[in-house]
């Protein structure tokens, strides 16, 4: 078994335990790894010999100290890479996750940490939390790993634009209409699950939902609550 397979197993076990499921690990793993159960059993016994994990009597798996630290480090790399791909490069989440799965084994911890620094240094936030190298909580796959966008807010909210994600069309027009970093905008109208009207620089601009999902913003607290 090569190193990347080993890492994939350890990553999968952590992911699984994070979801809070106890038993049935072999069948779960065979699903994730896309292998039959016999092969998975064999691989697990190999990893047990290597000292990465312990197979319990009921067939579930628990990690040793060493296995856990290797797994967590890979998972962390995965999250940071995935976040980088979706948020900075504007890739779609599925491709981002797949690519992250490949690169996580090859990239060194140092490289990935640098990318993590870039993410947190750029002032972009991940659902209220600053995204940095120390971040490892949350569900898998990291769909929650995204920055607040107009689409996350409701009618009447006042927002400050912090950035814009890449995407097809529309971008330049948004910028020309004044939706640029630092600009304060307000959601004038929001139809349930649909398009949004923004008030920006004294005029009203209607945008589609996918556009609203590309403009990264932070909320300006209401004056009353201050």
């Amino acid at each position: 078994m090569d190193q990347s397979e080993r890492e994939d197993y350890l990553e999968a076990v952590i992911m699984h335990s994070a979801e809070g499921k106890g038993a049935g690990t072999i069948s779960f793993l065979s699903g994730v790894m896309e292998r039959d159960a016999d092969q998975v059993g064999e691989d697990l016994r190999y990893l047990e010999n290597e000292g990465d994990l312990v197979i319990e009597e009921d067939g579930s798996v628990s990690l040793t100290e060493e296995g856990r630290s290797t797994g967590e480090s890979v998972l962390k790399k995965h999250r940071i890479l995935e976040c980088f791909f979706t948020e900075m490069l504007g890739m779609d989440p599925d491709t981002a996750s797949k690519e992250a799965c490949e690169i996580e084994h090859a990239a060194s911890e140092e490289t990935v940490n640098k990318i993590g620094n870039l993410l947190s240094g750029s002032g972009l936030r991940c659902r209220g939390r600053r995204y940095g190298p120390g971040f490892i909580e949350g569900n898998f796959p990291g769909r929650q790993c995204r920055f607040d966008v107009i689409d996350d807010f409701s009618e009447g909210d006042r927002l400050k634009v912090v950035g814009m994600r890449h995407g097809p069309g529309g971008g330049r027009r948004l910028i020309d209409l004044g939706i640029v970093p630092g600009e304060e905008i307000k959601i004038v109208r929001r139809l349930p699950g649909r398009s949004i009207i923004l008030s920006v620089k004294g005029s009203e601009v209607a945008i589609s939902r996918e556009i609203a999902g590309r403009v990264m913003v932070e909320k300006i607290p209401d004056k009353d609550s201050l």
């Binding site: 097809p168 069309g169 209409l177 004044g178 620089k201």
Partner: protein, 619 residues
Amino acid sequence: MKFALVGNPNVGKSLIFNQLTGIGVEISNFPGTTIDMLSGNVCYQRERFELIDFPGIYSLEGSSEEEEQVRSYLRTNDVDALIVVLDATKLERNLYLLIQAAEYKIPLITVVNVADEAEKSGIIIDYDKLSSILGCKVIPTVAVEGKNIDQIIPAAMQDAVVIDLEVPYGKHIEAAIRSLVKLTGCSRMDALLALQGTGGEKELMEAAETIGSEIEEEHQMSAHQIIATNRHNEARRIAGEVIEAGKGSKRLSFDIDSLLTRVIPGVPILAAVLFFTLLAVFIIGSFLEETIVELFEALIIEPMYSLGLSPFWEKMAFSFLIAVEAGLGIAFPFVFTFYILVSLLEDSGYMTRGAFLADRAMHRIGMHGQALIPMILGFGCNVPAIMSIRQLSKRERVIASFLITMVPCSARTVIIAGIVAAFVGITAAFSVYLLVFVLIVLTGLVLTRFAPGERYGMVLEMSPLRKPRIDQTLKRAWLHMKEFLFIAMPLLLVSSVFLGMLDYYGILAEFQRLFAPFMEQVLGLPDYASTALIFGIFRKEMAFETLAVLAGTADLGAVMAQSQLYIFAVVSVLFVPCVSTIAVLYKEMGLKIAALVSFYTLGLGMIFGALLNAIFKIL
């Protein structure tokens, strides 16, 4: 001397142009309707000036067709003075364009329009201060009342100056500009444009791309974003200095707006508005058309026959006149009525609300809110509708080509009214519409999955709600109408004469003999119906007239069964778009799409005709 008006959409630029030149031009309340540049002459103190009205644009550096058009004009032509028109109610955003225009180093003056509305809503602008900050003449105007419009030309002649308004773009961009200028010997503006990905020379563009990507890496923002942000900041600074917020009443449109842009009652209102527009056209159109056709028959066609021309020329004259008759019979009662109503919706600013509400529904069929307007225009005539889809992305244009072509235009309304409503019943007529709408939606649902390319979302500035002005509405309706008259009509005339020749030399009869058994078998229609359908390719409503002529009676109910009439109407409504539509599709979208759309609709018409025939037989 040559002057040019430049400004955002909807600032009243066209209205100013009209007042200065007196030529009828479209005044639009829907962003981006004046696609072509207009040019007119102004006389002042016995001198003649050329005045150009550019399409409304938000930026001189964007990539939309209008923006490119204006940019390339300004860069290649000598304009003696730019007249930059700003909207006083949105001064800050409008200044962004002025800042860009200033970089072209063309002498300019500034006109601040709708000064009265700004004042009413509590925006007090210190025009003298604005003038001293910008370093150029500033004229506050109220174009609707013609106030101060007379000052514009004298000012453009005497006071236009190159203004020195260099925005500081930050050290990185400035350094990039300097190195590009050194490297390639271009001007500051060339360098700025190149950094934003627009401009000419290969060498410059390559250098700019390298530097641009370095900047992007460093800042996490594209050079264009940084430049635009700095310009917006400069605009904000200027606006902040000259605007004193005073007390003002809220805009009148505010409360109505909150009704129009909610799901309830907004969507029912939108549906009702569209339904009653179509119903009104249906009723008024049918009534007027009958009168026009009767008059035309009595006054022109019959006298033509009494001239005693040779059979060939008689046929030609008839083909020509019948096309004119149908053109008039459709153009004025249906198309013009429709465009007047649609222009009312556009001028009042309601169309943008409709687009906003329809956004999600339009997404389902592969487009977005902005495509609503072309779809609605399609009810008048498909030709101008297809010409108005340029603002959409490639993918959306492909989908729109199919769907717009299926929208029952005025000519098809004539068939539905003349055949189904008259001989089968009004409910049946509505069922034809329903069938077509269902097919449009289904086609959209399927195309969303297969159309290639990426979808842009809607980014649309909402026009303020305004009371439409009769003269502007009529002018706009006339402009829509002109596209129909000058693009669709000539094609109709030519194809009608061509068809007349085919008929004269017996080619049509041959054709009929060939296809009649098929028509009989599959669609259950009499042999002359196939000829009538062929006529329908040339001009939709001609299918109806030809059917009447070939059947030898206008009382179609007497010679064909109701089911046959219904099938005939459905097939000719779905069946291949008319020649003019195919021509415009070819011009705008290329041969492949034009052919695909034609074959698709042909297939659709045949399949549904056959299906209905089978169903009616069983019943």
